[in-house]
């Protein structure tokens, strides 16, 4: 039949019509909502495959400042909560470094990175929730540097915010996500980074600092290690970085916040939440 269709335009034309009719059939059906956990299963299965695929085509490299030698010693450290499960490296190795970047600034940023860096790295998947953000094309990647000193999360396509609103990164303990980063402000890029071997440590960098010293978020950098339960920030809550560091709030992000889900490293066999991006209000 295939051979004939390639020779006979008339039959090919009819074939096209019949095929179109066949493909219309499911469109006449009543749509049905599957079980809500099917999304999680699909997502987990896809991330499994993504992880097994290894290095993706697109390579992203973190800024030099985010993979320093002796990172712990040179980067401003921000405590984001105690490690759950004691020595559970797999549970928290993912919460190494976080970068929020708005889409308009990503091109120049990436160019700078590619110029500045030459190390190979692996990359693992990020999926954003809830669906409304993913449906808008918001996506992210988690480059995993070969030296494994620092990881960076990039998030693209986040809708621009109104003045006074910020995005905030929430690394997630298995039991309690906590806000861990300073905000990405406006349309500029912002970054947070940390040593993956110590997921309790986070440092931050603003766009202007990507090739220099990271911005110090003094109130946080100097703050004693807080309990995760003291780091929550409800969406829409007005608070400055300084006040956020000491604001007691819910240990969980507000309902409906997008959650970045990933694995802590490419061959990790566990799947856990890494971070969430919350929208709060910056009182500055």
């Amino acid at each position: 039949m295939t051979a004939h269709l390639t020779r006979c335009k008339a039959c090919h034309a009819e074939f096209v019509r019949l095929r179109a009719a066949v493909q219309a059939l499911p469109l006449a059906l009543e749509e049905r909502e599957p079980a809500t956990d099917l999304r999680d299963r699909v997502e987990a299965a896809v991330l499994d495959e993504f992880t097994k695929e290894g290095r993706p085509a697109a390579q992203e490299r973190p800024p030099a400042i985010l993979r320093p030698h002796g990172a712990r010693a040179t980067m401003p450290v921000l405590s984001v909560g105690s490690r759950t499960g004691g020595r559970s490296v797999t549970a928290w190795a993912a919460a190494a470094a976080l970068l929020l970047a708005f889409s308009l600034g990503m091109l120049g940023w990436n160019l700078r990175l590619h110029q500045a860096l030459g190390q190979q790295e692996e990359e693992v998947a990020i999926a954003l929730r809830p669906a409304r953000l993913a449906a808008r094309g918001v996506g992210g990647r988690l480059p995993y540097p070969a030296d494994r000193e620092v990881m960076v999360v990039t998030v693209r396509g986040l809708p621009p915010l109104s003045p006074g609103l910020i995005y905030e990164v929430w690394p997630a303990h298995p039991d309690a996500p906590v806000p861990a980063s300073p905000a990405a402000q406006g349309r500029t890029n912002s970054a947070v980074a940390a040593d993956p071997t110590d997921p309790e440590a986070l440092a931050s960098a603003g766009e202007a600092d990507l090739v220099g010293e990271p911005t110090r978020w003094a109130p946080r950098a100097s703050a004693p290690r807080p309990s995760p339960r003291r780091h929550g920030l409800a969406g829409g809550q007005r608070a400055s970085p300084a006040t956020r560091a000491a604001t007691p709030a819910s240990p969980a992000p507000p309902a409906g916040l997008p959650v970045i889900r990933t694995r802590c490293r490419p061959r990790c066999t566990r799947y856990h939440r890494l971070a969430a991006v919350a929208v709060g209000e910056d009182g500055r």
């Binding site: 095929r19 066949v22 049905r32 990020i126 954003l128």
Partner: protein
């Protein structure tokens, strides 16, 4: 920010962006599950089929070329349909054999001409088009498509001669296509794989296939 289209998302999937796949899932899960459930009449199994289908989309997204006019939705639903029919056949212990309509569908592995048609389809209009078919033709199509029956099996099920069943299927699909075109849904016209126009009413003199949707 404008929401990305399916073509944008499938390209992102081809570039290994899991969030793009999940965006497609969020957009088409109900249609996919509705189709799988219609075939299988079993929610857990239908969900497995949907999951498998999205994994196949993930694996083969690079083979999808929106420039050729294909519809991601139609492609996805074709995959769901194939998986659902395969599952149904395994469940019923039927040997694997191309169904009456599956033979037509087989060539859909690479999408092309349906894109512009599918983009304009409304469910009610498709339903109306299906409902406008003579009952025998509609029944033959439903048995072949939703139950995955072969021509011969449709003939056995309906107690009709094999030749009659083949004729009903063909005429039914021709009329269905004609009804969709008449409803103004074929907005983009038909294209060959190379993108050129194909005269819609040309029939094959050699193969006796002169029937068109005008018939």
């Amino acid at each position: 920010m404008a929401e990305p289209g399916d073509d944008d998302l499938i390209q992102a999937v081809a570039h290994r962006d899991p969030t793009a796949l999940m965006a497609l899932y969020d957009r088409h899960r109900r249609a996919a599950f509705g189709l799988a459930y219609r075939v299988l009449d079993d929610a857990p199994t239908a969900e497995e089929v949907v999951q498998d289908a999205f994994l196949l989309v993930w694996r083969h997204a690079a083979s999808f070329d929106p420039a050729r006019g294909g519809s991601v939705r139609a492609w996805l639903l074709t995959i769901v349909h194939h998986r659902a029919i395969d599952t149904l056949r395994r469940r019923l212990g039927r040997r694997r054999e191309a169904s009456g309509l599956e033979a037509v569908e087989m060539a859909l592995a690479t999408p092309d001409a349906w894109g512009e048609v599918a983009r304009g389809l409304e469910r009610d209009e498709v339903r109306a088009a299906v409902a406008s078919l003579p009952a025998e033709q509609r029944r033959a199509i439903e048995l072949a498509y939703f139950e995955g029956l072969t021509h011969r099996e449709v003939a056995e099920r309906t107690g009709s001669p094999l030749g009659t069943v083949k004729g009903r299927l063909r005429l039914g699909l021709q009329k269905l296509h004609g009804a969709l075109v008449a409803a103004g849904m074929d907005r983009g016209g038909e294209r060959t794989e190379g993108g050129g126009a194909v005269a819609p009413a040309v029939g094959c003199r050699q193969g006796g296939g002169g029937a068109t949707h005008e018939r």
